[in-house]
């Protein structure tokens, strides 16, 4: 396949991914929305619409802007196929993004290339399948596993799994972009030290932190200092 054929093939593949992804998400939304009502039919008690309205107004106030910002930030990092799967399977910041970036790093693909898109999609699909299988096995073994999983000695390990993840990834990416990392790291640390109330909303902190890192990287790139 020459370059021209490759470009054409990738464009056809990408269009197919968008068509399939959209259909998949529409089916998924309808199916997911039917779950509470199917449960209601089994229980003989449908959801209370006034209570739903009250709760969803509060939830949307927080999570609608977060969802839009997450989409704007993470979709370019993931690519098309991986975005459809990531937003469908969830656990975006704590698993899918680091997983896809790690796979691309290991496979040494460049951002914006078809190879990058393929590796990201494979990575997110493999990650989602692994999680689903582990949770399904765990659910099956819920009774015998519960004493082990809930053992107070092991609780700190599982409570800090995200800290372990970001520690490991932090080392990897700070080495690669130390000049970019200094300012966001210092500013975020100072913010969390002097305004501790923000600690419980790390999801929101990611936005200014990401913007600062992007700004620094742009300046360094412009000045050819990277």
């Amino acid at each position: 396949m020459n370059e021209q054929q490759k470009t054409e093939f990738f464009e056809t593949y990408n269009n197919g991914i968008h068509r399939f992804g959209r259909i998949m998400l529409i089916v998924a939304i309808i199916w997911m929305l039917s779950v509470p009502f199917a449960m209601g039919a089994v229980l003989g008690a449908m959801p209370s619409m006034p209570a739903f309205g009250k709760a969803i107004a509060q939830v949307a106030l927080i999570y609608l802007p977060v969802a839009i910002v997450e989409f704007m930030i993470y979709a370019p990092m993931l690519g098309s196929g991986a975005s459809y799967l990531t937003f469908l399977t969830g656990n975006v910041t704590n698993m899918k993004i680091p997983c896809a970036v790690n796979a691309r790093d290991i496979c040494k693909t460049e951002a914006g290339t078809p190879e990058n898109e393929i590796v990201s999609t494979l990575s997110v699909a493999a990650s989602a399948l692994t999680t689903t299988i582990i949770i399904a096995i765990g659910v099956l073994l819920m009774v015998p596993l519960a004493p082990v999983l809930e053992n107070p000695v092991l609780t700190p390990a599982f409570n800090n799994v995200v800290a372990a993840l970001f520690g490991a990834l932090g080392c990897k990416y700070y080495i690669k972009g130390l000049k970019i990392a200094i300012l966001p790291f210092i500013l975020m640390s100072l913010l969390c030290i002097f305004v501790p109330s923000v600690i419980s909303n790390v999801g929101f902190l990611v936005i200014p932190s990401g913007l600062i890192a992007i700004g620094v990287s742009y300046l360094l790139f412009k000045k050819n200092r990277l």
Partner: protein, 246 residues
């Protein structure tokens, strides 16, 4: 039959299991499509397989923590709903927070098994489902045009300076921003609550990753990279247990 027993009935497993089976099928379809496209584009089979195996090893430990989330929520919402929520679209901090908000809106004192009624449960389930659905709508309506715009911008601005193109730098910067927010919060937890466990966990994981980095990048033992994240995380988690015991 108590409400909790009803929430763990086979019918509920069937309802939630059907959605999960659909999602699994979709993951397999996407995987096959991208694998075939990769081969057609002339990508190395080993590279494609590495993408899959590294992602599986990467995901193993965080998956166990997600399973713990199912365990944590199962006490008040039964097993099937948390199983579904944490397998499709959801994430533990969101689910816990939203379930609590929904419980209060229906008049419960919080997410509490002893106060749970069938109607409270179905209302909570609906709020949890609708409250996180926005990302899916963004993908349906905006993803194609957004990616097109980005690709256009990237083609125009891609210039190599110092051996890197700006697309790579941008991805690295976004990721550094994400990591910095979390690391800052661990430092804040230490200064505000004297909770040293998260920062020690992160530091130990980082130190072990540093050792892996030395062997994979300096000594060029590339295969070790597949295990770097999982082993570093295990070391960090072990440190969390030790620090908590001391």
């Amino acid at each position: 039959m108590s409400v909790l027993q009803q929430l763990n009935s086979p019918a509920f497993y069937l309802i939630c299991g059907s959605v999960i089976v659909f999602v699994v099928a979709m993951c397999i379809v996407f995987m096959l499509k991208s694998y075939r496209a990769g081969l057609a584009l002339g990508m190395d089979k080993t590279k494609l397989k590495r993408a899959v195996t590294s992602s599986i090893t990467f995901t193993l430990l965080p998956s166990i923590s997600i399973l713990l989330g199912v365990v944590a929520l199962s006490g008040s919402l039964g097993v099937p709903l948390p199983w579904l929520r944490l397998s499709v679209v959801g994430a533990l901090p969101y689910e816990t927070n939203v379930a609590d908000m929904a419980s209060k809106s229906i008049g419960l004192s919080g997410l509490n098994a002893s106060e749970m009624t069938p109607q409270a449960f179905t209302t909570i389930a609906l709020v949890m489902t609708v409250g996180i659905i926005w990302g899916l709508f963004c993908c349906i309506f905006l993803l194609k045009s957004y990616m097109k715009k980005l690709n256009g911008a990237e083609k125009k601005s891609t210039k190599t300076k110092g051996g890197r193109n700006f697309g790579d730098v941008l991805t690295l910067a976004m990721f550094i921003g994400l990591v910095s927010a979390y690391l800052g919060s661990y430092i804040g937890q230490f200064t505000a609550d004297k909770n040293i466990v998260p920062i020690i966990t992160a530091l130990v994981a980082a130190a072990v990753m540093g050792v892996f980095y030395y062997f994979t990048e300096k000594r060029k033992i590339a295969w070790l990279d597949n295990f770097s994240i999982a082993v570093s995380m295990l070391a960090g988690m072990a440190a969390a247990v030790v620090v908590s015991l001391v």
